[in-house]
Symmetry: C2
DNA sequence: TACAATTTTCAGAAATTTCTGAAAGTTCAT
DNA sequence: ATGAACTTTCAGAAATTTCTGAAAATTGTA
């Protein structure tokens, strides 16, 4: 398992970006490698290719499994666990999107719901709550929208994303068609 | 500057979530506080309210300014700098969205453009490049879509986000209307 | 059951990030 | 120019996160 300099660069970059995307360096690297490498890899191969410890690989795989980004496989006559990226690039992107929604939005929605149950005790608190309510509505809307997008099939998603500025026109056309909740 | 327990909870939560949203704990807390507090606050007030050092506040404000999330104000007869959240909740969300796009997508697009210029030297490399090309197309599409969304005015954005599953129907209606690039 | 192959765990080490506070820098009024 | 009010900087301290590697646990086979 020697990485070409191309793959090396890709893997290292994903490691750097990892923290911005919600995982740590080595998890990012493992994800990148499994994404470009079409053959399944086992833990030792990952450790060797990325020059990290066996234990770290084990933890990283656990994390990637929690994100539902990898699939485990078994080769006949080999007791090792082998891993591949879970599905197509689109599948992976969708999964990352969904997991991030869960991790970045849900906890805040829960907290805000909680806080907004309390009666404000004075004017200052009432004003703060008003702002929190605005934050809440916006995040909830975002959450629902993210949900809707996750639910679209690839064809529709592609169509939507390619609309560009045409989206405004479409929204105009559709006026009144939004009979919902 | 005493925080009510409500505001305290909100601020601490934003501190915890901070790292998932792209800033560190104290920056998250400062942002939260400036968001719920409608009056402008100066650096000393922030430091006191959040129990952090003056120097940390200074760095945090610099960071929030880099994110374009705060505005500086001056009160007549007072030499201190005062800060408020930059605009409405919607403005803030839009700004966070745009900044995150910049930080999470652009560097990767740049790298991938670079890597894809190289001629693959063998079959394995060709295959890896093929995957990278898929990643690139998807991220570029995402980037453009994010761009489009940023460009929509609040009314359209609201309309779009509230469509829910109605979006598929609309996409069907609009068939052929996507005359672009 | 015994044991070899493999994975997981986790305490402590290493690396990284964040924070403090004192010193340096800036700005403004006189 | 001076000095008071304020902000920024940044070296080192503190906190947090990540990583290692040896030991424990698990799994499959004979």
């Amino acid at each position: 398992m020697n990485l070409t300099s191309q793959t090396q660069a890709f893997v290292l970059h994903f490691g750097e970006m990892g923290s911005r995307w919600g995982f740590n360096r080595t998890v990012g690297q493992m994800f990148a490698l499994l994404t470009v490498h079409s053959e399944p890899l086992n833990a030792d191969q990952l450790a060797q290719a990325l020059k990290i410890s066996r234990g770290n690989v084990s933890m990283g795989l656990k994390e990637l499994q929690a994100w539902r980004l990898v699939e485990m496989h078994h080769l006949p006559g080999d007791r090792k666990d082998y891993f591949t990226a879970a599905g197509s690039i689109w599948d992976l992107a969708r999964t990352v999107f969904e997991e991030r929604r869960k991790r970045e939005l849900d906890p805040t929605l829960t907290l805000l719901r909680q806080l907004l149950l309390n009666e404000p005790q004075d004017e200052q608190e009432a004003q703060a709550q008003e702002r929190m309510r605005e934050v809440y509505s916006l995040l909830e809307l975002l959450d629902q929208f993210a949900n809707t997008l996750s639910g679209l099939d690839q064809k529709d998603l592609l169509k939507l994303m390619k609309l560009g500025s045409g989206i405004s026109k479409l929204l105009l056309k559709g006026k009144g068609g939004s009979r919902k909740q």
